[in-house]
Symmetry: C2
Amino acid sequence: MPFSFHVVRSDSRTPARLGRLETPHGTIDTPVFITVGTRAAVKGIAPRDLHEAGAEILLANTYHLALRPGDDVIAELGGLHTFMGWDRPLLTDSGGFQVFSLATLRSVDDRGVTFRSHIDGAEFRLDPARAVGIQENLGADIIMAFDECVRLPAADGALERAVDRSVRWAGECKRAQTRTDQALFAIVQGGLDLDLRRRCLDALVEIDFPGYAVGGLAVGDTPDQMAQFLPQFVPHMPTDRPRYLMGVGRPIDILRAVASGIDMFDCVMPTRNGRNAYAFVPDGFLRMRNADLRADPRPIQETCDCHTCKHFSRGYLRHLFLAKEMLGPILVSLHNIAYYQRWMRRIRDAIASDTFDDMIRQCEDRASRAPNNDEAAEC
Amino acid sequence: MPFSFHVVRSDSRTPARLGRLETPHGTIDTPVFITVGTRAAVKGIAPRDLHEAGAEILLANTYHLALRPGDDVIAELGGLHTFMGWDRPLLTDSGGFQVFSLATLRSVDDRGVTFRSHIDGAEFRLDPARAVGIQENLGADIIMAFDECVRLPAADGALERAVDRSVRWAGECKRAQTRTDQALFAIVQGGLDLDLRRRCLDALVEIDFPGYAVGGLAVGDTPDQMAQFLPQFVPHMPTDRPRYLMGVGRPIDILRAVASGIDMFDCVMPTRNGRNAYAFVPDGFLRMRNADLRADPRPIQETCDCHTCKHFSRGYLRHLFLAKEMLGPILVSLHNIAYYQRWMRRIRDAIASDTFDDMIRQCEDRASRAPNNDEAAEC
């Protein structure tokens, strides 16, 4: 069995846990943050630099790669690992989220979705069997079931319909699977409706998957709504399977979700913010274009050991952004990636040393004292 | 004396020579190609990757850095080496070329140039003393005299006037110099007029500089005109000083210029072409967007040991360009930089082993048989 998960330690005061996820391309300690490389590339960062920054697992996207360059091309070039030069664990999203957020929908029926590509308008069909087929061509270690993702607030009946479809499609995905070296995770939908979520979860658990994801959050709901919802829902998820909260989030959101029992996260925030000149620091963001930084000789973060902080000053990074040099987005993204990885290590260390409860208390306290900086609140 | 140059070996059949240039930040073997980092950054490539690709010396630009972030800011941040995180040799251009090509000129007089910044239209004055002052603030190992650069073909009298001014300004630059740890090179002007060039050279040699550059070529003249001009002129340059051909060029142009006795080169070609999806290969360019490369598993160049060629296929690189992922420009620039450095090593090895004459013959032969690919002709 090329895939396994076990809980190494459960926190004594919260549902948080330390886990170990084994995949054909390596073992990952959880809670883990997955760095996003949508189009088979983390924007501006070569794989070796990602690894140096602490990244252990990357995410690429089925929808984008199926449209361009085509999953057949990637298969011909040896699969996604070889294609993007990353020989560690990979996860591919199913494309469900992108179909419903990026494409021009033509029709959604009980069997799948017909849409027009956001690139060239070409008509395309995605259904559970095709989503699995594409992901088998890509060859990631973890693949995701094709689901219907509904933006919140949802119209009457939309969530129920999405849940029914997502459950049915998850079963079809499992039946369509032919490779035995990929773990297919199911995605729980149901918005902020706890009953609906539990109904969805129970039906998926009945089918039985090696991992379960919480989808459809951070798509119209507020961070507070999410923070209230997760502790009510996550403890119901199977304890012996990894639990993946998709598309989340800020460091504080991750911390709260870990406290609810979540094991896996992904988000574009470190790289997108990096490109936009926002560097993560313990007190919030450092806006790298700020005039204050003009001649600031300090690194982004004094205590950071990333390549950027070891070699470049805030003044230099500010110059790169003002001069529109792409090295600015590159170097700040790299710091942010390292920052997130260090944040996850700190969470894991806290759970391991039975101080996780203290970490949360301190962070929540600090966040509550810096309300204007909530966007950035870390701890 | 922190700066010295000596000829290690003179070729037996051509004016080509191997040299060694010692600077406060390290020793360089010549003929050398200087990688361009105009705004204190080689576009998209961090210094450690430049070094791995073989780069030994970088060039940054006085005009651009004086306008943004300001040479005072760079001085406050520890000088250009610290600022850009490069602790090896650096050269700064004087800004003369950019003033005459990028800025909106307000007036040129015998004492200097008043112009408007191409960034924000602010009025700015550059003269010999100011150009040296800026370059002393920046702190490169090699700095350039402020010159008047004339685009070819030039109006009657324009070349003569530019030569007279450039000579006078070079003398003023030398008198303005206060730092003893920077080598000030003079720039010879005079277009394709051999008499004028020699008059300019003789006047500059009279003043005495630690190095001499040939400026004002590759600015309107053709590669053939340059190839005909250099063998007539370069052998007149002092043999015991480095000879620097500014802004040149293609691999074949460099080879021909080395055969005339040139020691140093700089050009944006490796990085600009890399950003535009042109990869250097021995047979010319590989156009990385070409449909042919769609599923090509080979690296850009089978015999290249650069990071890009060791880890990524043509198919992947093509995908990056089509998907507008900045990793495409980054990785192809990196290959091109490594390609140029390898080309220079090959030239140096050929001179060292007394086979340089053969190398030229083979390359010229190959270039003549591939007339349509002259843009790329290497050897």
